[in-house]
């Protein structure tokens, strides 16, 4: 007798078809955008052969150069600052007995994930407008601190995950061997934690690089980042140099993400 066991239990009819359509739907627009950034013509719809013209146009544009510089400075500053703060906070909130106020710290750290970005942007606009008026300072400091704040939860998560996977035996062994607290941290904890810290820094960098709304609200004149520059270009006609910039940003994000996955892989 033939056994009727020809269908997998966990098979849902249509799931494969729908998910294939989803993956095509997710990637097709991005691929079209990338392909058209190499278009020879100036249309974003009609294909006129391959060329690097739009990359040249973008590169020759001083506004784009300035925006690239601002983006990189802000993202680097915010990533360094938020990762340092997140590392300390992670060391303070893991591998120790639960204490009163721990939930408060978690809520504070994750707060930027829960509040709509537009509300934070408005709030920061009010504060920075007042500070700018009072002090006259209008440098990139505002952007760096604001970005650092919303990057903290992204930096904190991988660092905390890494710490939770490390037990205290090595640290105990170090102090048994008369290492000072600082030596133990410097020689034992920090090297072990490094992959988590780097992963956190990358997520923070990508998060800062992607920000539009908060930057748009608090930037001073001449402080456009690449995303706010591109958003500003929308008022004029869409030109394929925006595609070229987008493609480069996509490539950078992809490189950082791959590095992130390599760093966090192989963890038991």
């Amino acid at each position: 007798m033939a056994r009727r066991r020809d269908f997998a239990v966990n098979d849902l009819p249509g799931a494969t078809l729908i998910s294939m359509l989803v993956f095509i739907g997710l990637y097709a627009p991005i691929l079209v955008l990338i392909v058209y950034s190499f278009n020879a013509g100036d249309s974003v719809a009609k294909w006129q052969g391959w060329s690097l013209d739009w990359y040249r146009t973008a590169w020759a544009n001083d506004e784009v150069k300035a925006a690239t510089w601002v983006s990189l400075v802000v993202a680097t500053g915010a990533a360094v600052l938020s990762t340092a703060l997140a590392t300390m906070a992670a060391l303070g909130t893991t591998r120790r007995p639960a204490f009163r106020g721990q939930t408060f710290i978690y809520v504070m750290i994750n707060q930027p994930l829960m509040v709509p970005e537009i509300v934070t942007a408005v709030a920061l606009l009010l504060v920075t407008a007042a500070i700018k008026k009072a002090t006259g300072y209008s440098g990139l400091g505002y952007l760096i601190v604001a970005h650092a704040a919303f990057c903290i939860p992204f930096a904190y998560l991988p660092i905390r995950a890494r710490l939770e996977g490390m037990d205290l035996t090595l640290e105990t062994a170090a102090s048994d061997l008369y290492a000072s607290r600082w030596q133990t941290f410097r020689r034992v904890t920090l090297p072990l934690l490094m992959p988590g810290i780097l992963a956190g820094a990358m997520l923070a960098f990508v998060t800062s690089l992607d920000d539009v709304v908060i930057t748009e609200f608090i930037k001073s004149p001449g402080q456009d980042t690449l995303p706010t520059y591109m958003l500003g270009q929308l008022r004029r006609a869409m030109k394929p140099d925006v595609n070229a910039i987008s493609t480069l940003l996509l490539a950078l994000t992809l490189v950082l993400l791959s590095a992130f996955f390599l760093l966090t892989r192989n963890r038991k």
């Binding site: 997998a8 098979d11 998910s19 009163r100 709509p116 903290i152």
Partner: protein, 302 residues
């Protein structure tokens, strides 16, 4: 506990706070503190060229719900504002439902792959999640606008004779929001389906349940926490969406986010903008509280 142990514990708690203090300081300065200032500003008087005057006023809050009739100066409901609020809630809700309808089969598909392939599929969902939202909105815009790829293809194939006008419609906004927020639905759904014990399906089928019954009575109840988490993760950013409606909705089809921005730009009514922001925050907080209560209720029952 001996006195020595007590001191040790106290030391640990103190160092926990010392270590967390710098992060908390920056978050207070640039995330939590400013929210309180928004609350204060919502009770002030608008300045003539934007900004505010330090005079207490309820006008900002009145402006959220009411407006003066231009003809007889009577107070009536601000239909325009309410329409924008209602539209935002409606569009966010529909987006959440749509992302679930396509996100659930996708999450199921990923979770039922062999281990190695699963990591690859998951990576493919994660990339868009980390990719610039603005770029993804550009990308979908280039597909659906009048001279876009979709219309060009359909015209060439002779399916349509005039381009379908999608940009600056609610449909375009929905397509765009589903497109950009879908990964936020798939990831938490995947996380719960991944822990789902597939033997329960066999049990269901052995007891003569149909596929539909297994889906409705076994799968959906068990993955409910993932559904709620995904819905919250999609609903909240949708409600506060600013970039996607600005690009795909044009100036006409605003959502709350764009309406708030308007008060700080052309509108020059900072107190009204502040009051609208607080109102949005309240809606989001209610959604989050419902989420937390449902999740903790699940834990108690489960």
């Amino acid at each position: 506990m001996s006195p020595a142990e007590e001191t040790a514990v106290r030391d640990q708690v103190r160092s926990a706070w010392y270590l967390s203090a710098p992060a908390l300081a920056v978050l207070t300065l640039a995330a939590v503190g400013p929210l309180l200032i928004v609350l204060v500003y919502s009770f002030l008087t608008p300045g003539t060229h934007g900004n505010i005057e330090w005079i207490f006023s309820l006008e900002g809050w009145r402006g959220v719900l009411f407006e003066y009739d231009i003809f007889d100066d009577t107070l009536k409901l601000a239909d325009g504002n309410l329409t924008i609020f209602w539209r935002s809630v409606k569009l966010s809700f529909v987006t959440t439902v749509l992302t679930f309808i396509v996100g659930f089969p996708t999450a199921w598909f990923i979770a039922t792959r062999p281990t190695k392939a699963r990591a690859a599929w998951l990576f493919l969902i994660t990339i868009p999640f980390w990719t610039n939202l603005l770029i993804r909105t550009f990308a979908i815009n280039q597909i659906i606008r009048n001279e876009g790829v979709l219309n060009t293809l359909l015209l060439k194939a002779g399916v349509i004779s005039t381009p379908i006008q999608l940009t600056y419609t609610d449909t375009a906004l929905l397509i765009g929001m589903v497109y950009v927020y879908l990964p936020l639905m798939v990831l938490p759904l995947f996380a719960t389906i991944d822990r789902f014990d597939m033997r329960l399906l066999e049990a269901g089928y052995d007891l003569y349940a149909s596929r539909w019954q297994v889906l409705r009575r076994v799968i959906l109840p068990i993955i409910k926490p993932g559904i709620i988490a995904g819905s919250i993760l999609v609903f909240i950013p949708c409600l506060g969406a600013y970039v996607t409606p600005r690009i795909l909705g044009g100036g006409k089809n605003m959502m709350i986010g764009n309406f708030i921005e308007l008060q700080f730009g052309q509108g020059k009514n900072w107190p009204l903008g502040a009051a609208l922001s607080v109102a949005l925050l309240v809606i989001v907080t209610i959604a989050l509280l419902v989420y937390v209560r449902t999740i903790s209720g699940e834990r108690k029952n489960g």
